[in-house]
């Protein structure tokens, strides 16, 4: 696997043939599942290697092995050709491997400087932490990445994007030779993403090896030099990025040809079912008004942080709006809690499945019947036979795969968990279903199933609201799209106006 010289890192390109870090036939086994089987991976100085694969392909496991969170069960890690072991995260840091993790792994109650230097703070007299030096160094690093953050402020006072910059600063504070970026752009705005790209170029220039994990093909093709593809915990391909096309990468990822085809739909939109007028919240959104008809799929597009989920949660009664009115089926509805919303026929499939959607420690049938217990029970007493009947009816409609209806939801794959959550809501026979990023983090096969099912629901007269950040999904599924920006409706587009360009333009405000 010989590399093409890279123009952006000439000073190191001459010696770039030898990898800094390599994984050699690494295996990781969890009870009941082999997460990685004999995978190999090489990271070269001054080069960005993109690691791609579907969810569950083993990308996160590799990151955790490289950062000392997990221990490999077989194979070895080599740095400069020498085998090394990372029993703890500290050891990985000491060996020059650092990571910007997908989740924010920071501490709200500590200062920015303390967050940056936790575990490797500069020491002064008597081995005590030198606070002044720590603040100064943190300021240098933050300035270096273009972040204007006072290192002495408490982390909890920062917004999400700034927190992410602190996480990046933390990764850079370790003088690392290998930088791992696990979906670093997921929480960032377009401008911040551009700055991140510049940072990546700079790191390449310094001869660091970068492992870049992303789901976004446009950014992979923009900044990666090499690629490595995992599928089901195994290595399926690697090489120089200019030697592959997007279609080839996708084929390697899923093991078959996939063109993203959305189901054909008969668009027969019925009567108005939901009317929202002037919804406002002191901090999250303002002036949201729209209507929704039976059988319609209404897409909500916007950048992360545009206030879409916040609005949906208010509509579902999780938070209270400061003003605004909802009319369902011609009747005013006062929604003060999710229980009220469900009672009025509005249900919500949240983005955070594990925490908000499913109760993972309870079995499938109990999850499905939880909001419908009033129907399956008699005078408040449970009737298990009725519960199994209801659960079976709706899980079969969704083609759920599980060992039994008594299986805990936590033991299911992401796609099947999502089906349980959707089944739970359909069992309440709702009028309006809100789907918040319904296909995020589920495999391509399940994705298509969810899309088909949405189309089917709409055909049966259910009104669907879909929040999505994936433009193809929004365009492929929606009858109409509302674009939100900074907590407000920026535009409503339909028909021929529904193009990727319009959505992006309205979302970014250009």
């Amino acid at each position: 696997m010989l590399m093409q010289p890279d123009q952006t890192s000439e000073q190191v390109s001459a010696t770039s043939a030898a990898p800094i870090l390599s994984l050699n036939r690494v295996t990781k086994v969890f009870p009941g599942v082999t997460a990685l089987s004999e995978v190999s991976l090489e990271l070269f100085p001054g080069r960005v290697t993109a690691l791609v694969g579907e969810n569950g392909a083993g990308k996160s496991t590799v990151v955790k092995i490289l950062t000392g969170i997990y221990q490999a069960d077989g194979g070895q890690i080599e740095i400069d050709g020498q085998p090394v072991r990372f029993p703890t995260a500290q050891d990985a840091g000491d060996a020059g491997v650092t990571a910007i993790h997908q989740e924010t792994v920071l501490f709200d109650e500590l200062s920015v400087a303390e967050n940056v230097f936790l575990g490797h703070a500069p020491r002064g007299r008597f081995g005590l932490i030198d606070t002044a030096a720590m603040v100064e160094k943190a300021r240098d690093i933050l300035t270096g990445i273009g972040a204007e953050i006072d290192p002495r402020t408490k982390l909890k006072e920062l917004g999400i994007a700034n927190k992410h910059l602190v996480a990046i600063a933390r990764a850079l504070s370790i003088d690392a030779r290998v930088v791992i970026m696990d979906e670093p752009t997921a929480a960032l705005s377009q401008k911040e993403i551009e700055e991140l790209y510049e940072l990546v170029e700079e790191l390449k220039g310094q001869g660091k090896a970068i492992l870049f994990i992303s789901h976004k093909f446009d950014e992979i093709f923009r900044i990666a030099d090499n690629y490595t593809v995992f599928r089901d915990g195994a290595l399926v391909g690697s090489g120089a990025i200019e030697d592959v096309t997007e279609a080839q990468l996708v084929k390697m990822m899923v093991g078959r040809d996939v063109s993203q085809i959305f189901p054909e739909r008969d668009r027969n939109v019925g009567d108005e079912i939901l009317k929202v007028e002037g919804y406002e919240h002191p901090t999250e959104f303002a002036d949201i008004s729209f209507t929704l008809r039976k059988g319609e799929i209404l897409g909500f597009y916007g950048l992360v942080g545009a206030g879409r989920s916040e609005f949906m949660q208010a509509l579902f009664g999780i938070t209270r709006p400061s003003s605004g009115a909802v009319t369902i089926d011609g009747k005013r509805a006062d929604i003060r809690s999710p229980a009220d919303a469900v009672g009025r026929g509005i249900v919500y499939v949240p983005e955070d499945r594990g925490k908000q959607g499913a109760i993972t420690a309870l079995p499938i049938f109990q999850n499905v019947t939880l909001p419908s217990l009033g129907r399956t029970s008699k005078n408040g007493f449970l009737r298990l036979a009725e519960e199994f009947k209801l659960a079976r009816e709706y899980t079969e409609r969704l083609d759920l795969r599980a060992a039994s209806l008594d299986t805990d939801v936590g033991n299911l794959s992401g796609g099947n968990q999502q089906k349980v959550v959707i089944a739970k809501w359909l069992a309440t026979q709702p009028k309006v279903i809100i789907l918040d990023e319904p296909t995020k983090g589920i495999d391509i096969g399940s994705k298509a199933a969810v899309h088909e099912f949405m189309a089917e629901l709409a055909a049966q007269g259910l009104a669907v609201i879909m929040v999505s950040s994936e433009i193809p999904e929004v365009l492929g599924m929606s009858d109409r799209v509302i674009v939100m920006r900074e907590g407000r409706i920026a535009a409503e587009v339909s028909g021929v106006d529904m193009t990727p360009e319009t959505l992006v333009r309205h979302a970014a405000g250009i």
């Binding site: 999710p338 109760i359 029970s377 079969e396 209806l405 008594d406």
Partner: protein, 327 residues
């Protein structure tokens, strides 16, 4: 799983199969062995009246433990229960002084219990405060009020028919308290395992956010649980006051920890989300048997507490040690 297998079975494991592998089975075996050991070590143990006396070691505490079990399963805790007993008992004692009869005393005992439970419930569910701290506070507050009222004095002079609750027998050696205990156990079994409310309790304990997002009124359920715990403390206060025929502010001191021990020993996860009423019933018997058996051997109460403490840690630690050792 292939496409041909379309139908998902309801259950793979029968409920009986689950039960045999359960914590409750282990605990039951412990109870039986303690019973056997006791009957060999003391000649006085296998005596109907002695065994009947033994039940007084746990009946009052267990009444509260059932309500506490629901509260802990829902992810909350109430450390003020023993202080609610003190306050309810003090209120009843004060009522006796102004000549209120037994029905009035019962109403006051239950009423004070409910009020205290409501107070905890409002602080936790309305103001969103952590229950462990709130109830450490009300634990001092409720008993503190008893101290303010009584100081180093005691209330006595309870009417003679009031004695029935703690000293009466329904049939032969079967005391009123034992019957009440059994009745309450059945009621709580039904509430937790057979009703929608019980299902909501488990859902909340496993994932309060997910439960809220599933349309369950989490705050309301928790508030009711605090009310129930207060109510059961009131019931226990009536029984205990009747049995002792006097009220001091130090009444039932330290019971909260014994009750929590009983619940945890019964297999209820202190982290919430799991646990069964039968487990708590067996745990109540285990604690009663240990206390009583050692008592017959003239082992002082404080040493029994070592056994209870060791039991509490041991029954949780041993399975985990076993797992560690095997892997």
């Amino acid at each position: 799983m292939t496409d041909t297998i379309r139908a998902i079975p309801d259950r793979l494991q029968s409920p009986l199969e689950r039960r045999l592998k359960s914590w409750e089975t282990l605990l039951f075996a412990v109870a039986v062995s303690i019973f056997i050991v006791n009957s060999f070590t003391s000649p006085y143990f296998l005596n109907a009246w002695n065994l009947s006396d033994m039940t007084f070691n746990f009946t009052e505490k267990a009444m509260i433990a059932f309500a506490m079990a629901l509260l802990i399963i829902a992810g909350e805790i109430d450390l003020s229960v023993a202080s609610i007993i003190a306050l309810a008992s003090t209120a009843m004692g004060a009522a006796v002084q102004v000549g209120i009869g037994t029905p009035g005393l019962v109403a006051i005992g239950l009423g004070v219990g409910l009020l205290c439970g409501a107070f905890n419930g409002v602080l936790v569910t309305r103001m969103g405060l952590p229950s462990i701290v709130v109830t450490i506070g009300t634990m001092s507050l409720f008993r503190g009020i008893s101290y303010i009222v009584l100081g180093d004095q005691a209330y006595r002079g309870y009417p003679s028919d009031f004695a029935f609750f703690g000293q009466g027998y329904v049939f032969w050696v079967i005391s009123f308290e034992l019957v009440l205990f059994a009745l309450i156990a059945v009621i709580y079994f039904v509430i937790l395992h057979k009703t929608n409310f019980g299902r909501a309790v488990y859902a909340i304990g496993n994932n309060p956010v997910g439960a809220e997002f599933s349309g369950i009124r989490v705050a309301r359920v928790k508030f009711i649980l605090f009310l129930l715990t207060g109510l059961m403390s009131g019931v226990a206060a009536i029984c205990l006051t009747s049995r002792l025929a006097s009220t001091r502010p130090s009444i039932a001191f330290g019971w909260e920890l014994e009750i929590v021990t009983m619940v945890v020993l019964g297999g209820v996860s202190i982290l919430g989300g799991s646990g069964l009423i039968p487990g708590v019933v067996i745990a109540a018997f285990v604690m009663g048997l240990v206390t009583f058996g050692l008592g017959l051997l003239n082992v002082p109460g404080i040493v029994m507490s070592i056994v209870i403490g060791a039991l509490l840690i041991g029954v949780i630690a041993l399975p985990r040690l076993w797992d560690k050792w095997r892997s």
